[in-house]
């Protein structure tokens, strides 16, 4: 039997007359990674703020680590660690002092050791003595997360931990998260990136305009969205006609003179496709491989894309 680290029932929140959360149910199993996936403005940060006792919901109930967030907020705060959307590090202090500040504020034994270990684990030892105002974005995020880990929390909230990071720092962050999970920590992660949720999460909930529109394992979700496909562009309708005739399962767009061919993106299916074109002496003007991103998920699950949400 798995126990729940976080459960939320019918969570509601509105700012003035703008509804931000419109009845959300969540159930995060202990020791798992749960990812809340959605575009800007979907209500991700609001959800995190409520689950972490930063703001109160208008309706619904939440239990975190077995404690009710309204009646027992103190116990919840003891159990959790939170890394917000913007690296909340003290810029006038050094990395080491930032960690020491957290140690001083937590009931941590052997604080000096904890600080040294965290600095080493996050590869910050070298810059530990420098003020964090000189740190790069990736270093700040790492320090931010290290500060969250000072009290060794068993439930960690990460609000868009990789937004604005370069690809290398993103990968580092991902491997840190994977290490935490290996230690049995429960992680609640929000992200705008499908690949991030896919990489890290055991379970994904897609949040759109304050509602959860889909929930499941990455595999279950991906089955609901259009998969990887190849797009071929031709110079004339005649060529498009010819290609559409010989490639089964393809969808044509007469206006753009393109042909959409579903596939798994692997080299084998690709060679088959090219061989087939070659066989009939058809050549495409342009060739591109398209992997599904958040936009595709939204289009598939909600019938509208992410920019419409942002504009609303």
């Amino acid at each position: 039997m798995t126990t729940s680290a976080i459960t939320a029932t019918d969570l509601r929140k509105a700012y003035q007359d703008k509804v931000v959360l419109d009845g959300i149910d969540l159930d995060v199993a202990s020791g798992s990674v749960f990812s809340l996936l959605g575009p800007n403005g979907a209500g991700k940060t609001t959800t995190v703020n409520i689950l972490t006792t930063l703001s109160r919901a208008d309706g619904g109930s939440v239990r975190v680590a077995g404690h009710d967030i309204d009646s027992d907020a103190k116990a919840v705060r003891k159990a959790i660690g939170v890394t917000g959307q913007f690296a909340a590090v003290d810029e006038l202090l050094t990395g080491q002092e930032n960690l020491q500040l957290m140690v001083d504020l937590s009931p941590v034994k052997n604080g000096k050791r904890v600080v040294e270990d965290l600095l080493e684990r996050f590869e910050l030892t070298e810059s530990a003595g420098k003020p964090t105002s000189t740190y790069s974005g990736g270093m700040r995020r790492k320090l931010d997360l290290a500060m969250t880990l000072v009290g060794d929390p068993r439930i960690i909230f990460l609000d868009e931990p990789t937004t604005g990071l370069d690809p290398r720092s993103r990968r580092t962050m991902w491997s840190i998260v994977k290490d935490l999970v290996a230690d049995g920590v429960t992680i609640f992660l929000t992200t705008q990136y499908l690949d991030e949720a896919d990489q890290l999460a055991d379970k994904i909930a897609v949040l759109d305009r304050g509602r959860i529109v889909a929930q499941g394992t990455p595999g279950e979700l991906k089955r609901q969205i259009p998969g990887t496909h190849v797009r071929l562009r031709f110079t004339s309708v005649a060529e498009l006609d010819a290609a559409a005739r010989v490639i089964s399962g393809s969808t044509r767009d007469d206006e753009a003179l393109t042909l959409r061919v579903p596939g798994d993106g692997g080299t084998k299916s690709l060679r088959n496709l090219l061989d087939r074109l070659d066989e009939y002496a058809i050549s495409a003007e342009e060739f591109s491989v398209h992997t599904p991103d958040l936009d595709d998920v939204f289009l598939a699950l909600t019938g509208h894309n992410t920019t419409e949400v942002a504009a609303k």
Binding site: L54, S55, F86, A88, L93, L105, S106
Partner: protein
């Protein structure tokens, strides 16, 4: 170590590493004092030596000049997520705010000490007894504390460090429209009434009376009432903003 101590130590580190704001807070009142006393002092006829007249008001001005830095640093804690970080930890929720208030009061005291030192060099000769001086200290600390809470509230409420700094400007301007620089009864109509009834005038008159060796109970009661009122308003505003804003 209590959370309060940790926070206060953090505020002191900030001051030590970014001394410009404190330097401004200490230097500006002295510049203003030199300007008024040295440059314009002879042109004012206030019945007594002008430096004796102006010093009490300038002491309060010194408090107000320190507030800009407090508002900015509280706001930067708020907008950069530092306060949220503390809020989701199991630590005393008021500690971060108390730290800012105490740091602000101590900065004010340094500025006032420097100012009074310069005043003495310019010929300031108060008739205050030791008890009067204690009264002055009490009044100054009370005002610094009250204004400190109000400023913390402003800092929490403002959208950005820039607007937070701007929001403290009226507090800096208020002493000028009181009996700090010139007696209220010499001002034009409208302004005179404003100067008479605004909180800084009774506070300044209280300090002036004490330094003169002739304390006035009437002014003192009004002054203390104003300070307590401002302190409470600031405290509750700060608390509710702190609770609400995430």
């Amino acid at each position: 170590m209590s959370a309060q101590t940790v926070m206060l130590r953090r505020n002191f580190k900030h001051i030590a590493r970014n001394p410009t704001s404190v330097f401004n807070a200490v230097l500006m009142p002295i510049v203003i004092m030199l300007m008024f006393v040295y440059m314009l002092g002879d042109a004012f006829d206030v019945g007594v030596n002008y430096v004796d007249y102006a010093t009490p008001g300038l002491m309060l001005l010194a408090i107000c000049y320190g507030l800009g830095a407090t508002a900015t640093s509280v706001n930067s804690d708020m907008t950069k997520g530092i306060i949220n970080r503390f809020k989701v930890m199991d630590v005393s929720r008021g500690a971060v705010l108390t730290g800012h208030v105490v740091a602000s009061v101590l900065t004010n005291l340094v500025a006032i000490a420097a100012l009074v030192g310069v005043a003495f060099a310019l010929g300031f000769r108060p008739n205050a007894s030791f008890l009067d001086w204690l009264g002055v200290l009490g009044m100054v600390v009370l005002l610094a504390f009250a204004a400190g809470w109000l400023t913390v509230a402003l800092g929490l409420f403002a959208k950005s460090p820039e607007t937070a700094g701007l929001a403290s400007v009226p507090l800096v301007m208020l002493p000028f429209f009181s009996s700090a620089i010139a007696p209220a009864d010499k001002m034009g109509p409208g302004l005179r009434e404003f100067a008479e009834y605004q909180p800084f005038t009774p506070i300044i008159e209280t300090v002036r009376g004490l330094l003169n060796g002739t304390p006035s109970a009437g002014y003192a009661i009004t002054a203390v009432a104003w300070c307590l009122g401002i302190a409470l308003a600031g405290y509750f505003w700060a608390r509710s903003t702190f609770k609400k804003r995430a």
